[in-house]
């Protein structure tokens, strides 16, 4: 099978392959594992069955993958468990030797693919930071010089002499991440880094990645967390059974992933944010939802404090009078942070006839804290407690950036006044 690359619709402002020097060039790379039918772990078995040993299954973990990753790009590799994404990353990292194809790495590559490699739970954080830094490629002297910076970033000054086994998993990740970003590598390979840690830590990681990216580093990131891909990546590729299925804009790749993962019919959605079907024909159907900035541009991310417009497109199958449109925003842990509907404002939405479509825009001041939010729109009949005609859970997604991590849900505009009496 020949795989074509760079067929993706490129979002504006993203690095296009070919326009920048490459960081990693992968050409027709394949990697297979031999899975013997009978595992020969002992010499006796081997001696008794010398002929049978030739029979094995070939598991094609990576199958003819071709991709070029540009310098300064944040590139995501996504796929289900066992799809070959981690194997591909290990091939890039030089942990596995590839069977076929050409692999070219331009620049210094980080030697590890997971945070906290070589951490020893019986040693203190102090020892582990130095050991880990040396393992990741720093010299003894560099490790000592950067020690304070590492601990400061992890915010673990008070826990230096605590053994790692007494650390919480969040503290461990913070420590591991702080060491990892000290590594002098031009290309970072990371397997599932953001799967752990709370939203504010993820945001901190993301900010740090942005800083690394700004200094020309390339980041290749493997995950099955689609929201992370959509939030962080410039481009992504989808792997299934070792083959590259999709490459391009992260939102597009994430939708393909969801289609495959949830066993839905594989069809190309006409619009971003289009529902995936499965709704019984009713009087009104939601055909799309998205976010816009105040000037009408479609956005997936917004800065804290800027006005944001949540948009909903509905197609009517029957004539309806004053239907009620609802908007629910939930954050990354699934808590509803904001819910409203046209009924609350006693808004007369008007009369719609069958076959008509309407776009409903709801503008709100974005006082949400930095996190990842999803929009669940709904349409209902006008009467009180009216029949819900269509609900599409988490149809559109929005990432809010901000610089303050309060752990709260909102960050309302406020002012302080201190007066001595």
């Amino acid at each position: 099978m020949t795989t074509t690359t760079e067929t993706s619709p490129e979002a504006p402002g993203r690095p296009t392959p070919g326009s920048a020097p490459p960081a990693i060039s992968v050409a027709h790379v394949s990697k297979a594992f031999r899975l013997p039918h009978q595992r020969y772990h002992t010499l006796k078995e081997r001696a008794l069955h010398p002929l049978r040993s030739s029979s094995y299954d070939l598991l094609q973990a990576v199958d003819d993958v071709t991709v070029e990753i540009t310098r300064g790009e944040f590139f995501g590799i996504v796929g289900r468990n066992g799809s070959g994404k981690s194997t591909l990353l290990k091939c890039l990292a030089g942990i596995y030797r590839i069977d076929e194809g050409e692999l070219t790495i331009y620049g210094r590559l980080s030697p590890f693919i997971e945070l906290g490699v070589g951490f020893n739970m019986d040693l203190t954080a102090r020892d582990n930071v130095l050991i880990n830094a040396i393992m990741l490629g720093l010299s003894r002297k560099q490790a000592r010089e950067r020690f304070d910076a590492i601990i400061a970033f992890a915010e673990l000054e008070g826990f230096l002499d605590l053994k790692l086994k007494n650390y919480s998993s969040g503290m461990l990740v913070r420590l591991a991440f702080s060491v990892a970003i000290q590594v002098d590598a031009e290309i970072l390979l990371i397997d599932e880094v953001l799967a752990v840690g709370d939203a504010s830590f993820q945001q901190k990681c993301f900010d740090e990645f942005e800083r690394l990216k700004a200094s020309g580093r390339t980041i290749v990131f493997v995950t099955h967390d689609m929201s992370a891909v959509e939030r962080f990546c410039d481009r992504a590729m989808l792997i299934e059974h070792g083959k590259m299925l999709e490459i391009g804009e992260p939102g597009h790749v994430a939708r393909r992933y969801r289609e495959i993962n949830f066993g839905r019919l594989v069809h190309e959605p006409a619009e971003p944010g289009r529902p995936d079907g499965g709704v019984t024909a009713s009087a009104a159907q939601i055909v799309g939802a998205w976010f816009e900035s105040a000037d009408g541009a479609r956005i997936r991310a917004a800065a804290h404090g800027e006005p944001v417009v949540a948009c909903l497109e509905v197609e009517f199958r029957e004539a309806l009078e004053n239907p009620v449109f609802g908007f629910t925003l939930r954050n990354d842990v699934g808590a509803t942070v904001f819910a409203t509907s046209t009924a609350f404002s006693e808004l007369r939405t008007g009369r719609f006839s069958a076959g008509e479509t309407a776009v409903i825009r709801m503008t709100f001041e974005n006082w949400l804290t930095a996190s990842h939010y999803s929009l669940t729109p709904s349409v209902a009949r006008a009467e009180a407690g009216g029949e819900v005609l269509d609900v599409q859970k988490d149809l559109a997604e929005l990432t809010v950036h901000g610089w303050h991590f309060t752990g709260a849900v909102t960050n309302l505009p406020h002012a302080f006044e201190v007066s001595a009496q």
């Binding site: 030797r97 692999l103 070219t104």
Partner: protein, 289 residues
């Protein structure tokens, strides 16, 4: 910007071109292991010195008072203790190496580094222990009436030779174990047999007419030469009389220096075999684990 690696051969290897990283990784893994051994005990590092001294006390009583294996051997306690600590170094390097790659699976699967670092760091830990033990033996030797002599300078050379042998076997065993899990019990038995077959608790002269053959065993030759470099020749004062004695070196025991080419060839051969096999297996160790 430099191109780091191109093409199909890109992948893990036994030795990579960054010597500084190779050394610092080996050293870091070894010191961490050494640190962990006595971590949490009240006496800490003092144990690494106390343990051999106490062990020697036991061995001394057992082998000189209970079994009189050392009858007629000048400075037998020194011979015995040297033999024990060198054997310990050999068996620690080889036995700990059997599972070394499997134990470090997490590192091998998550990080790219020269694979040879692992067997070498195991050997280095054994070498640290040997250094500690050696201090204890020197204390024992001086107490036993052995005085410092120029021939002591031979000892580091002999230890290096033993190191080559141990690392060679270690590389072979660690790489073999990834494929065949029965290397573990096999090596347990083989190393026990080798212990009793080698002149560790007795001297090469107890082989009597076969003592030339005993020198073909590299461990036998090294221990015999070790004994010579400790005490050489001299006199022992007993009951007010001075008794002269002679300790033969390995060449004399073997019946000519030329025969020592056999143990040397075995050391070199096993080292090269181990290195060749390990290098051949290195690119696929991570996936075969």
């Amino acid at each position: 910007m430099t191109t780091q690696a191109v093409g199909r051969q890109y992948g893990p290897a036994a030795i990579e071109d960054d010597a500084r990283r190779f050394l610092s990784l080996t050293l870091t893994l070894a010191t961490t292991d050494f640190k962990l051994r006595y971590f949490g005990s009240a006496l800490g590092y003092l144990w690494s010195l106390m343990r051999p001294l106490m062990l020697f006390g036991v061995l001394y009583v057992v082998f000189t008072q209970v079994f009189s294996l050392g009858k007629g051997v000048p400075h037998y306690p020194v011979y015995l203790l040297t033999g024990i600590i060198l054997w310990t170094f050999f068996v620690e390097t080889t036995s700990n190496n059997v599972q070394s790659l499997v134990v470090r699976e997490g590192l091998l699967r998550k990080m790219r580094f020269p694979r040879l670092v692992i067997p070498l760091s195991v050997a280095l830990v054994a070498l640290f222990n040997l250094g500690m033990n050696m201090i204890a033996v020197v204390v024992f030797a001086l107490a036993n009436g052995v005085y410092p002599h120029w021939s002591w300078l031979e000892m580091p050379v002999l230890i290096v030779l033993l190191g080559f042998l141990a690392v060679g076997v270690g590389m072979l065993l660690s790489a073999l174990y990834v494929r065949y899990r029965d290397i573990q019990p096999i090596w347990d038995v083989v190393s026990q047999a080798l212990f009793y077959a080698s002149p560790v608790i007795y001297t090469a002269f107890q082989y009597k007419t076969l003592k030339h053959v005993a020198m073909f065993n590299p461990i036998g030759a090294i221990l015999t030469q070790m004994h010579y470099s400790w005490v050489g020749g001299g006199t022992i004062v007993r009951d007010g009389h001075a008794y002269p004695y002679v300790v033969h070196d390995a060449a004399t025991t073997a019946g000519g220096a030329v025969f020592l080419l056999v143990p040397l060839a075995i050391i070199l051969g096993l080292f090269c075999l181990g290195l060749w096999f390990f290098t051949r297996e290195a690119p696929r160790i991570a996936e075969n684990l």
